[in-house]
Amino acid sequence: MPAARAPVPTPQPLQPQPQAQPWDDHWIEVILGNLLRTGVLISAAVVLWGASIYLFRHAHEPADYRVFRGEPSEFRTIHGVIQSVKDGRGRGLIQLGLLLLIATPIARVAFSIVGFAMEHDRMYVAFTLMVLAILLYSLLGSGLGV
């Protein structure tokens, strides 16, 4: 915030010091923040689009979520979701939007690897790869990718 920049008698308070803090965290965070927001807005738009088809077709059917049945495979796997989008199904589109939403923070983690690598911070490249591996396992290894 600009209010924090009171004239204090410190030498070069805001000058980017060459390689003092190797990764200027701020610019990369701004990119990451915008990446996240863009991802969320795109997925919300896809969900809305799907919602309008779904509501147009099913508005007057009874809504009942009391009994857990589990979703059919067309809404449980990436392949199934893509197929149901191709078939023009509203709920398939909603599910695609939700998949994009889940992918957004994963993209942020993947992008962070580039940032740490540019700074030659091997320790944090390794940490970030671990996080990415866990995320990809959850997304693809748990049966979603089938």
Binding site: G33, V47, P62, T77, G143
Partner: protein, 282 residues
Amino acid sequence: MRNSMTVLEFTAVVAIVSFVAGLLGSLTGLGGGVVLVPMLTIFFHVDIRYAIGASLVSVIATSSGAAASYVKEGFSNIRIGMFLEIATTFGALLGAFLATRIPTSALAIIFGAVLLYSAYLSRKPRPPAQRNLPPDPLATRLRLNGSFPDLEGERSYNVQHVPTGFSLMFGAGALSGLLGIGSGAVKVVAMDQAMRIPFKVSTTTSNFMIGVTAAASAGVYLSRGYVDPGLSMPVMLGVLAGSLLGSRILIKAETKSLRLVFSVVILVLGLQMLYNGFWGKI
């Protein structure tokens, strides 16, 4: 609100409730996800597994949606976030697998306990910030120490008790995966009280981490059929819109009484969840 509702009515009412939850959650800083699952199960008679799936998706949306505005403030510490995400994502994966195995009444009881704890924590005064702590060797090795712009210029901080914080974060991740919440309450304990990270840094960094943590369990939930498009759609859109509005109209004066009201709501929902869990109503 029995099952006489049509899809259109159900969608509209759930969207409004989610909008209010997102708005209050963002204004009070207590998060909207924590009230959504009990509201959906208690008032809409939604099966708790569907409710958790929908809530988890909305948690990703709010965290990612708010990130851009948090980033502008420049307080978050990307290294603390990434390091602790190893613990939270691993915990979240474990929590999600656990959720598919334990009975729903147990889920309700754990959820109730977490709600009561969050209500207690939101009323407890924050411990005074300790400044000028000595650098911890492990935190230094992991490059977790940092600085942030304060009123008096750049203020630096030294992170403490890394193993304790890391373990607590694993627990926070597991709860997030188990219950489909951001588990901000546990994250606050880990970062503020154990690791002694300044409040401004811990809240913004924790927001960054919540989305990644939720994404780690979301894959499991989706593939197990817990994420219903018809239910998740109004929840996600409602919470997202509410929290985006909330982050724009942060009025400091009102926050205090709002926090009180919201923590009473959390308390009541927590008791109801415990009751439903113990008497097998879920």
